[in-house]
Symmetry: C2
Subunit: 705 residues, 2 copies
């Protein structure tokens, strides 16, 4: 079914039924009715209630089926036990979209969860969309209509907001009314039984009344769909998100480096980054950005002009700009000359422009206009402190006028103070100038808008490379391991899988006797490495399970016996398959390349500095698979070792292309085989440019059948 068509009906209904409408004040069914009427909804309203009559002057029907005409949207506010029946009736009636406000579903346990599955399946059967259950409702300020039990309707504006927490939404609505922040759409996601964040992101993307998307989410239903929806929208509209629950998942048990180093929230961070979504650090920051964007165009660059009547705040603002990745604009010589001619001699005419404590509104006017018309300036911050000769209100008006004259560049006010700034702030807000009380939040909001433009512009439509691979061989190895009732692959098996995907590996063979070890060593060529082969021993070097640089049959024999002895004495319960004999790779720069699997987003690839100190150095970065070559390159260059690989201080550069290839091949492998839940190559050795890489130790764990 086409959910987007359903959402179109939800956004612009010609008629709305309220199932559970009530005449009694304080009941949700009454709140919804009153909000609908008071929001100025111009379509037909059908209250549904077993008791016939009238509710708020609207004729009551006993059931949706009794309504004479079509019904586009039904809002459901009856007790949970009656909801399924009502939904079915809506389906029969041909209602296009349902808003289920009623609580008592997934959040109360198993039974509720089953009911939600029924809701989703009814939605599909009858080709309806369902928002909720357990939600506050929906508000569209452009239709206009308010089908929620919120107290109040937000101001009309250009921000589309969707929230997984209804209560947070009520707080934000209340707060936005005071702060005069406008919204185009206000959607409470509830339990997301049918419609979820991805559906609304796509719909907001298509909605011409919305130019800016804000989200509060605790999780996403489908990581891939979320990323696809965001990627589609980001080129046209910014998406800012507060994602909570960072600490909720807690530490996961993980046997691989990659698994233990990827925090429970890493995949979200990476997903947001890979699809250009900006993550806000907190709710206040989210709305700081919104308040600026609601009134201003995006900045076309990061060069900021600062105008102030005091030095201290100018320095604070400069610090904040540099810390946020904004540049202090270098004003053109014309601007500087103009300011010199028109400001007192003691004024600072470079940036920050300090018009001095005596600055009058007309001084501010000329500084602001000079900055706004300077080609080296992308946005302007106006600071004001309440000094003896300061005219706050008149200065506010001057800021508003300048913006009217030069609407193209962001212009943000920081009026520092309290009581004396209340009225000036009203002038600014009414004049569509975002205003803050301290510089840092203003700078941060501006920087976020700029960073969105950078993320947007860096999203490339590059294809995912497809390498030739022996998938049959990998299938066979995995099915053999399953038959052996194991999860952890032996070294020889893991290396064979890597080889099947064209990843250069040190060859490896399993020996079950010292005689066999010696003959394998001859076959591979000296020197060789011996490693314990046991699914129960993950960190082999810690227990003396690895011997390197063995040059003769005698050394191989001694090492074989020592390794078995070390393993048996330290981990007597470990199942031991024998000892792997491996060719000894020439030493290169030590890397780790790995993969863990995120519940929502799938394979999460890690790259970084390898060796036994991975957990201490933590020089690592992550990307979600599948990846294109640019992703792989950025992943490598996000680490400090990436800089070393590029070649610095006379060191010859490493074979970065070969490392990218290895990353991309692993990305393909784990995308092809969801069975692989964890993979670690540690170390992989990187050699000089043109000389490739070598995977020295490959570990693979597969998931349950």
């Amino acid at each position: 079914m086409d959910k987007q068509k359903g959402i179109d009906s939800l956004f612009n209904p010609r008629s709305i039924a309220v199932i559970g409408a009530s005449e009694t004040r304080g009941k949700l069914g009454n709140d919804v009715m009153r909000n609908l009427i008071e929001s100025g909804y111009e379509g037909r309203i059908y209250p549904i209630n077993p008791k016939a009559g009238e509710i708020l002057s609207h004729k009551v029907f006993r059931s949706v089926r009794d309504i004479p005409g079509d019904v586009d949207v039904a809002v459901i506010v009856i007790p949970a036990k009656f909801v399924l029946k009502a939904v079915e009736e809506c389906g029969v009636k041909g209602v296009k979209a349902l808003v289920i406000i009623t609580a008592g579903f997934k959040e109360i346990g198993h039974e509720g969860q089953e009911a939600e599955k029924m809701l989703a399946s009814l939605a599909e059967d009858y080709e309806m969309v369902i928002q909720g259950p357990n939600c506050l409702g929906i508000i569209n300020t452009s239709a206009p209509y308010n089908a929620s039990f919120s107290s109040g309707t937000p101001k009309k504006g250009s921000i589309a907001f969707a929230s997984q927490s209804g209560a947070l939404m009520t707080g934000i609505l209340d707060w936005s009314l005071m702060e005069k922040i406008g919204f185009s759409k206000f959607v409470s996601l509830g339990n997301k039984a049918h419609l979820n964040e991805s559906d609304f992101i796509e719909a907001f993307g298509r909605d011409s009344d919305s130019t800016f998307i804000l989200l509060y989410i605790e999780s996403v239903v489908d990581g891939r769909k979320f990323m696809d929806a965001c990627r589609k929208v980001i080129p046209h509209k910014p998406i800012f998100v507060v994602k909570s629950g960072v600490s909720a998942a807690g530490a996961r048990a993980a046997s691989s480096h990659t698994g233990s180093l990827a925090g429970s929230d890493t995949a979200y961070d990476v997903a947001f980054k890979q699809c250009g979504v900006r993550r806000a650090s907190d709710m206040a920051a989210l709305f700081d950005v919104a308040s600026v964007f609601d009134d201003m165009h995006l900045p076309s660059g990061n060069r900021v002009a600062i105008i102030t009547n005091a030095g201290g705040p100018g320095i604070l603002t400069t610090d904040a700009c540099e810390a946020s990745g904004l540049q202090i604009a270098q004003l053109t010589s014309q601007t500087v000359e103009f300011l010199k001619e028109n400001l007192p001699p003691a004024a600072a005419v470079y940036n920050p422009i300090d018009a001095l404590g005596t600055a009058q509104p007309e001084d501010y006017a000329l500084c602001i206009e000079a900055a706004l018309s300077d080609e080296n300036v992308d946005s302007v911050l106006v600071l004001l402190t309440p000094q003896a000769m300061t005219k706050q209100a008149e200065t506010a008006q001057v800021v508003v006028d300048a913006h009217t004259k030069y609407p193209g560049k962001p212009l943000i006010a920081v009026f520092m103070g309290g009581n004396s700034m209340v009225y000036p702030r009203i002038i600014l807000t009414e004049g569509h100038i975002p205003v803050f009380d301290f510089p840092e939040r203003a700078v941060h909001a501006l920087a976020e808008l700029y960073k969105y433009t950078v993320s947007r512009d860096s999203l490339k439509d590059e294809s995912i490379p497809k390498f030739k691979a022996d998938t049959k061989k990998v299938e066979k190895i995995i099915s053999d391991v399953r038959a052996d009732k194991r999860r952890v692959l032996l070294g020889s098996e893991a290396h064979a899988i890597a080889e099947a995907y064209g990843i250069p590996v040190a060859r490896i063979r399993l020996a079950t006797s010292s005689e066999e070890a010696k003959s394998l060593a001859e076959e591979l060529g000296y020197p060789v490495v011996l490693k314990i082969a046991s699914p129960d021993i993950v960190h082999k070097s810690d227990i003396g399970g690895i011997k390197v640089g063995l040059k003769t049959p005698e050394e191989v024999e001694v090492a074989f016996l020592q390794i078995l002895d070390n393993a048996r004495s330290q981990l007597p319960k470990a199942i031991i398959y024998g000892v792997d004999v491996q060719e000894m790779a020439e030493k290169g720069k030590e890397l780790i390349i790995g993969c863990s699997r995120d519940v929502q987003f799938g394979p999460l690839i890690m790259f970084g500095a390898g060796g036994i100190f991975v957990n201490y150095l933590k020089d690592i970065a992550f990307r979600l698979a599948p990846m294109n070559r640019s992703d792989a390159n950025e992943l490598i260059m996000d680490t400090k070792i990436g800089t070393l690989l590029r070649g610095v201080r006379g060191e010859s550069p490493s074979d970065v292309v070969a490392i990218e290839d290895a990353v991309l091949r692993i990305s393909q492998l784990v995308t092809d085989f969801p069975d692989i839940v964890e993979l670690d190559i540690n170390p992989a050795f990187a050699y000089e440019k043109g000389k490739g890489v070598s995977a020295v130790d490959v570990k693979i764990t597969i998931g349950g059948p």
Copy 2:
């Protein structure tokens, strides 16, 4: 002179003269007079003005000398050119403290700077203290008196605030009146010609009306004095500072690793840390902390209870707590049982306590009281969202009542919303409960208070070790280098200095011919290292100026010639003294230990992972010298390599005590010899426990004569 005695007079004057008092509204001399009178000052007020008569009903004197009685404080608001004469008259009169509001000194250039020197010297001559010039004045709410040209007097409270920016201060005063934040002292530092931040910190520390110290500074006058003052105060009172000008100093030219890796602001960060001062990220954060501290005791630990009427905000708060180093308290079983008995079954009775959207004031009351009386809880955050059944004002009252009953634990409100929360917020503020609109800022403020208690408790009174050293030898080397008109020491000289301070070094000798190199190699024992000896070549390995592992006289001869050849072909203008022959140290873990010199704070010691990739790894930490052994140990453990040195994953631990010794000896060396402006030991090799360290390459630069 005893500046503190002077400040005592400044804080509690029995009489105040206003030099430049005026009857004309809008003049600063009138503002000061009116503020003095309106603030309720009970001492004698003497307006000084050449025109006799009365100003605001106070008899005018022509000069301070004409005043019959003693004058404790004189406020000076006359034009700059008359100030020095007035100051001298005050001196003759025996005035104890001056507040020079007049601007036009250091900030206008050389002449003003000279005038300030005169001011300072007059202050010393006459045993007066001088605040300013170029300042807003001073306000003491407990005396009470307001000797400033501020508009308004702050509310009485327990915060002592000193600011280097007068304009910022006016903004904050205005803002504090709206936000109902109280101050004990409000001091504008101005140009700090005589009294500076350190003097006021010490005075605030002794002031029984002040329990909390806030600073806004752009720089400190004397780093050592500042640290001493803070260390004295921190055990009793928190100091929070916003230090701006992070980006102002820009990049410094530096030839050493230590110099280039220490940012212009690093010394401030380190100084604050070493004396327990908390640095606030921005002005808003500074006052968030102040607003909490103004009303609440310090938390005795980091365990927080969260009470909410909605899940989403609870999760946001949990995330914020964990990100800020606060713990979600584990409630006692009694508390959990009590909540189970008294809340609806669907409520969450573990922490966060979710009393559900239907929560009434009495539900909040019992949750808050249960949390406040739980021994596992150190502080309580109360979240409220405006839902259908929420009673905001009554809930606010319940929070206030609970705090009255249990005043010992911090209790902070987060009332999310706008218009519906205005009145409830007034109830909370009037009831001395700090209140925020979003959780994150509340959590951050609480975390800062907790972190202050941790910093305070970790300040130890440990003595600085004093090693035996051959200072004569160091003096001799430095004076020889000076005689040679050099700044950069040769390797042999630098190693000799390190050796004189007992730092284990690889021995080094300068050879000027290949024959000499061979005979020195014999003397030191093979294998040896040869390095170019040139004051002009800093990064020797980059130009092929180092050859290692030379085992025979022949190899030494070849290497000698190659090194000279490489140096001459790549840096033909470099002055070359010959080639250093050095004993080859056994390879260990590579460290860097260095020192650069900060203008305000003196020697800044760096420790970290060494080798040629120092600038890329940036695994480094800093401390100011002199240091005690705990400082040295913390410096080492602040780095990732510190963890490796401690011994992890089967690696045997390194000789951390020997590394501490080396750090402490360097700390002593650079403290003894301010001539040493830069020092780099890179690498120093660290060996296994008991086997010490070895400084392989020591570089020293001395300052101008």
